[in-house]
Structures are given as C-alpha cells and as structure tokens.
Symmetry: C2
Subunit: 254 residues, 2 copies
Amino acid sequence: MSGRLAVIGLGPGDDRYLTREASDALAAADALYGYGPYLDRVPVRPGQTRLASDNREEGARAEAALRHAAQGAAVAIVSGGDPGVFAMAASVCEAIETGPDSWRAVDIVIVPGITAMLAVAARAGAPLGHDFCAISLSDNLKPWELIERRLEAASSAGFVIALYNPVSRARPWQLAKAFGLLARHLPKRTPVIFGRAVGRQDESVTVTPLAAAQDIPADMATLIIVGSRDIRLIARPGRSALVYTPRAVEKVSA
Amino acid sequence: MSGRLAVIGLGPGDDRYLTREASDALAAADALYGYGPYLDRVPVRPGQTRLASDNREEGARAEAALRHAAQGAAVAIVSGGDPGVFAMAASVCEAIETGPDSWRAVDIVIVPGITAMLAVAARAGAPLGHDFCAISLSDNLKPWELIERRLEAASSAGFVIALYNPVSRARPWQLAKAFGLLARHLPKRTPVIFGRAVGRQDESVTVTPLAAAQDIPADMATLIIVGSRDIRLIARPGRSALVYTPRAVEKVSA
C-alpha cells in the first residue's frame, strides 16, 4: 500500500525553466505540497489537491507529504530551482531517516530543476565555466566559523563561489563579513555577480568589483557569484559585459 | 547587421530534461552547431541547417558559429547538460574575447540546462543538499597539481565533490590518484556515487564506499559524486539506498 512521493524542481522564475519531466510529474500527482508562491506557479488541475505551507516549515511539509504518500497516494512536493540544492530533497531524506519504517517503502522520485546559480550564470556569460562551488551563507543550521572556513578554502584554491541564501532579516551582517573575508584572498577588482529574481518580470543582474560588493542590495531572492583570480570580463559596446571563467589555467595562480 | 547566437543546454540524456526555453530557442534558430550526438537529439525542422563537429573542436565550433551569427543569422550551439558548466558557453566567451570586434555586437543568449551532477544527485537522493563543489578532473588545460590542491581544499573543508570528465583514453590514471588523495581526508566508508548515462536507456547508478571506488569502471559519460564526512546513507528494504547531505551541521567536523 506504499505510494509515491515526487520532489519536483520548478526552476527559478516562471515556467520557461520547467522541464518536460517536471511537467509530467506535476500532472501525475493527486496532491501537491509546497511553499505557497511555488504552488501558485503550477497550473490548476481539477481533482488535484494543494497544501500550501510556510517557507520555514520544510521538515513538517516533508513529514506531511510522506504520511500522505505512505497511505498509497501519488503525492508531489514542489520546490523552486532544483530540489536537491539547499532545498526539499534533503528535508525529505531527513524525514525518512528519522520517521516510521513505512516511509522507507514509499517510491521516492527526485525531479531535477534549473538551480539559481545556473540561471544567473547564464545571464552573465559563463562564470561557472570552470571549477566552482556552492555555499549556503545561512548559519541557522551550521556554525558561522564553518562557513568562514569554507569561503577561505574555496577562494584560496581558486574556485568560483556561488552564494545561496546570502541575507535574511534574521541574518543581516553575514554577507558583508563574507565579502570582507573573500577580499583577503582575491583582488579588489574580482567581478561579483548579483542575480535577483532571475526568470521573473522584475529580474535584475548586476556585476560589480569585489571592493564595491557590500554596497549592492541583496535579499533571499538574490544569488551571488564571486569570481576567482582567473575570471575575465569582456566589455561590449552597447551591451552588458560578459563574465566568464576560461577552461585553461596556465599555472597555479592562488 | 549583427545576429544572434544562442548557446542551448539540452540537459543529460533524452528530452525529458529539456526546458520550454530551450525548446523555443532550438525552434527559433536558422542554423544549429554542435557535437553530432547532441544534434541528433534535436527534432529536425525543414529549412534549419545543421553543422556537426567533433567533441574536441569546441574552439573552432564557437568561432564558426560566431562568424555565422555576425552575418545577421539566428544561430544556435547545442550543448549537453548545462552550457555554462565545463561546456560551450565558456568557449564562446573565449572566442569573443580574442575574435574580431564584430563578434562583440552579436546578441549572446545562454539557455541553461540540467547539468549532469543535478541529474545524478536526483537519482541517488540529495547528496548535494548542502555545500558542494564541481571539479573537472581533466588536466588537458590545467596542471594536475592544481587539481590535487582543489581536491584537498574541498574535501578537508567538508564540501561534497562532483567530478566531471573523470576519465578518458588519454587520461587513464588521474581518477585513481584522485580517489587515493581523497582517502587521506575522508573516511573509507564515505559514499561515492557513479552515475553513467543518466537520462538515457543504458543509465546506471552505483553507490560504493570510497575504499572500493577505484574498482568501479568510469568513462567520459560518468559523473561521480564523492560525499563529505556529513553525508548519510539510508537503507531501504527492497529499494536502493538514499544518499543525502543533511542541512544541519552540528560542529566543524573536518
């Protein structure tokens, strides 16, 4: 009597980033769980129920969806971006690990989506064209000292760095501190890309040198990409500059 | 008289991973450039020309497409996975930087796609659920010592590591050396995920402890994810294990 739980990535922004697999998985579900604004992006289908919850209730949402699926239903959780990157797929796994045995019998299907760093990178050129990393700046669930250690390790080894969850009301100072720390390992002119609401009508993309990055506003809808020593900027008359990381590295630069 | 060049990510495998934006961009092109097997995945449209080239001719392909677009045409380059991750978008930027001024007037549009690590992670659970990095193991264009330094920095700072381009005929020993180096920083039981041809009919996903990873065959169609100290494995009766990285980190573990 075990059912199915699909964890579906919608991509960032509107439905331009939706894959065929995600569309099919949304259509096949009896019930959709998710954060309200994500559910609002899914076309309504008669007979399909919707259970919206707050963005901070990831654990409770995962448990409710698993309980529902374990009764035999075809359930889906919708996630912005990719569900596997700082999102609902890990919450579902956590709930399965600590939950009743019956949840281990549920058919779990993760449907990947375009994660924010890929969409922001595409707008700017190819900043993720060579080795890169993704770090969540949220210290809600890990110590700030670990975030600092990862920023230092990544910047000094020459990784381009995508910063997820850069700022929230409860975490006002962490981003400026991160930029300060990165400035000890990277040139002041290193390009930093701020992509906000990419794929939505109010999308904005800003490129600024690291030395001025702390003056650019950011929020939870912002994804930030900090370049490495190898990153390059191509000026184009009448067009925005292209930012990219070359495939070739001549020497160990950092 | 400047035209348009779209660099389009098809995602891995068949068209289940294609986004609506990518479908629209493919349909709008007068001419498609790309590696033959990628072009073969795009439905034929009368009046649209196709120019296939070898996988190693990325620079020449970018230049040919830019030359064509600069004459006013709507040109597209197709790329497997995401064009911004170790793929054609960086080659196009390189060609623009070194090419004639007229190429800077071409309208460049990068269309993101599902990159291999997201598709492989989705099959295994949520191994990229927290901080992670992506490293190309190819030392064709960068020194091997830099790759070693990045592997050490990433594993000792607790990043999950996605390895692109793990093995080729010309690079037979690098992957075993990388596993040996990682084993100095990570427990022997650390899960390693091998995803081969994900999204294709001959897809296979294997999870093995790091101590046995060197015995698993890999090739250029394989994407490998090496866990961190925090990664967890959930056994499920009658189903494959789920591998995931928890959102919470209690302490600085490495």
